[in-house]
C-alpha cells in the first residue's frame, strides 16, 4: 500500500505503463493482466506521469489503482491532441510545477509535492486537471468496481437483484412501502 507501488516501467516513450498494486482488489478481478498501459499521443511519458501523480494529490484515493488515474491522463492527452491551447497549458503547467520544485517535482516526497499542489490550486492548469478528473476518474468501469457502483449492470433493473436487500435497519411496514409487481 505504500506510494512506491507507482513503479512505472521505463520501456516506452509514449505510453503510461504500470502494474496493478492490489492483487486481490475489485479491479484486479476485472483486469486481464497485472500490467496495464495507456498510450499517449500528445503528452510525453514524463508529462503523463507527472499529471497522474498530480491527479492523485487532487483526488487522493489511497487504494485506487494508478490504472484508473491513467484514464484522466488519457482524456487530457486527447484534449491536448485536439487543441494546441490545452497542449501548451498542460506542458507549461508541468514545467512550472517542476520549476517550483527546483527541477523535479515528481522526485519530491509526498508532503513537499503537496505543498506545491496547494500553491497552484485554482490556476488554469490545476483547474483543467481537476475538472477533467472529476469526470474521467469516476466514469469508468474500474472506478465503478472500486467504489461499489454497478453502473450499466443495473440496466435490467434491481427488482429481483437487491434493490431492497438492506437488512441492518428495521423493515418498513407494508403500508408505507408496497408489494412487488405481480
Amino acid at each position: 500500500m505504500s506510494l512506491s507501488r507507482r513503479s512505472f516501467l521505463r520501456n516506452s516513450r509514449n505510453a503510461l505503463i504500470g502494474t496493478l498494486a492490489f492483487s486481490n482488489g475489485a479491479i484486479a478481478l476485472l483486469a486481464p493482466s497485472k500490467v496495464w498501459s495507456m498510450p499517449l499521443d500528445s503528452l510525453s511519458k514524463a508529462e503523463g506521469e507527472t499529471i497522474l501523480e498530480l491527479t492523485r494529490h487532487i483526488f487522493p484515493h489511497d487504494s485506487l489503482e494508478d490504472a484508473v488515474y491513467a484514464f484522466v491522463v488519457r482524456d487530457l492527452d486527447k484534449a491536448a491532441s485536439a487543441d494546441p491551447g490545452v497542449a501548451s497549458l498542460l506542458r507549461d503547467g508541468v514545467k512550472d510545477l517542476n520549476q517550483r520544485a527546483g527541477g523535479d517535482w515528481a522526485g519530491l516526497n509526498n508532503t513537499k509535492q503537496f505543498s506545491h499542489v496547494q500553491a497552484i490550486a485554482g490556476s488554469g492548469f490545476f483547474e483543467k486537471i481537476r475538472s477533467t478528473a472529476v469526470v474521467s476518474l469516476y466514469n469508468n468501469e474500474l472506478a465503478f468496481a472500486h467504489f461499489g457502483y454497478e453502473g450499466p449492470a443495473g440496466d435490467g433493473g434491481y427488482l429481483y437483484s437487491g434493490f431492497n436487500d438492506l437488512e441492518w435497519l428495521p423493515e418498513p411496514p407494508l403500508a408505507d412501502s408496497g408489494v412487488l409487481p405481480a
Partner: protein
Amino acid sequence: MSLTNNQKTFSKDDDSVVVVIGSGAGGGTLANGLAQQGFKTVVLEAGALHTTADFLADEWASFGQLAWLDPRTTSGSFRLAKDFAGLPAWIVKAVGGTTIHWAGASLRFQPHEFKALSTYGKVPDANLLDWPIDYDELAPYYAKAEDRMGVTRTNDIGGLPGNNNFKVMHAGAEKLGYSCNTGHMAINSQPRDGRLACQQRGFCFQGCRFGAKWSTLYTELPEGIATGNMELRPESHVLKIEHNDEGRVTAVIYADKDGNQHRQKARVVAVAGNSIETPRLLLNSASNRFKNGLANSSGQVGRNYMRHMTGSVYATFDKPVHMYRGTTMAGIISDESGHDPSRGFVGGYEMETLSLGLPFMAAFLNPGAWGREFTNAMDQYENMAGMWLVGEDMPRESNRITLNDAVKDAYGMPVANVHYDDHPNDVAMREHAFERGEAIYNAVGALETIRTPPYPSTHNIGSCRMSEKAEDGVCNSVGQTHDIPNLFISDGSQFTTSAAENPTLTIVSLALRQADRLGKMLKEGAV
C-alpha cells in the same frame, strides 16, 4: 421514428391549426387534449425523437443525449452561477421534454399555497401574489391527471415497494416522529395502461427504459397522434412568433434540423418551452407594436422566475446502502411542507430520497471541491444514503429571464440569461431543511452527513405567471395571455408561486384544464 411515421400532417399554410410549442408535461398534455376534441394541432418540438430503447444506463452519455445544452448564461448570487455558469437548468431537449428526466413525484399543491400572499402576508423583497384559481377549481383536474398518469396511492393504485435508500430515510423518520412512505409517484407499481411496472432500475433521470414512469413520449403524444388530429414535428426549434395588425398571433417561425426556416400559420399558439425558453421566445418575438416582447405590457415576462429552494443531504453509514438501486425518488416526508412561520420562514418543504450514480455524485457532491474531504466522502459511496430537499422559493421581480444580446444561439437569436438571488426566506428554509435532513440520518447512526448545494434546476417555474389583474402578470387563470387572446402559456411558467411540491402534476392538471377551456373557446369562436 415509428411515433411519427403514419401521422396525419398539416399544411404550413393551414391557419386553422393550433400550434403547441413543446411536447413535455404541459405541451404534450394540452396537444393530446385538443386532438381528442377534434382540433387540428401541430406540436413543434425543438429536440429529437428518442424511443425508450435509446435510453442509456450511463449518466454522462445520457446527459449528452437528452439534456438541453444550447448556450445559456447566468448571473446573480445563487451558487449555480459559479458552479455551472453555462448550465442553470438540467432539463431535456427531446420529444417528451423533461417528462423523460423527471423523477415522477406527483404531489398536489396544498390549498393555502394557491393563496401565498393572503396566507404568508407581504414578505419584503418578494413579489408574492395569490393565484387567480384556487385548489377547489383545480381539484377535479388533479384527480384526472392522477388517473391518467397512474399516480401511486391514488385511484386504488398501490405504493411502490421501497428500496434501500427508502429504508434508511424511513427508519430515520420513525425516530424523529415523521411519517414517510414511498410517495405519490407517477410510476407504475403494477402494470397499468399498457405500460410495465417499475423494475427498480434506478436510472429514472436518464429516461425510463421500461416506460413504467409516465412521460408524454409514450402516453399523451401517441394518443394524440392516433386521433388523426395531431402532427408532431421533432427537431423544430421555434425562433419567433408573428402577429398581425390587430395584435393577434398568426404564425410561428421555426428552424428544422438542417437550420432551414419555416413559417407555420396558426389560429392559436400555445407556448410550453419550460420557464426559461418560454419567456425567451416571447422576448425574442418583439416587434414594432410589441417593443418589449409579446404579452409583456405588464413588464412581467421573464420575471418571478423560481427554481425551488433546493439542497441535498447525503449521509454515510458503516454498512452498505446501494442507494442507486431502484427508483431515484423512493420515499417522501411531507411533515415540513406546511406553513409554520415559527420555523423562521414562510412556506414549507418536502424531503424526498434521491440518489446519483458515481459519476454524477462526483460532479454534484461539492462542485469545485478537491482533496481529502471530497475523496473521503466518495470513498463511502457504497454506504451512502441521500435525500433532496425541495421547498417553496420566493418570487422576485429581479429573479428573471432576460435576453443576452452578447451571446447568440446557432440560429443567431440572443440566448437566455438566468438571474437568481436566493431570498433570505430561501436561505432560512434551506438551513432548516439541511438540519432536519441531517437529524434524520443521524438518528440511524450516520457516520458523516454532507450538505450538497443545489443542482442545475429541473424545477423551473414562474416567469410568465398567471394573475387576476393584467398589470400583475402575463396570463389569466386559463393561461391565456392578458394582451393577446390567441396566445397561451401552457407550462410551469404560468405558476404564480412555486409551492413546495414538485411541479409536474400541477403542470399536467393545468394543461388538462386549459385543453377543456381552450376547446370551448375554439368551438365558440372566441379565439
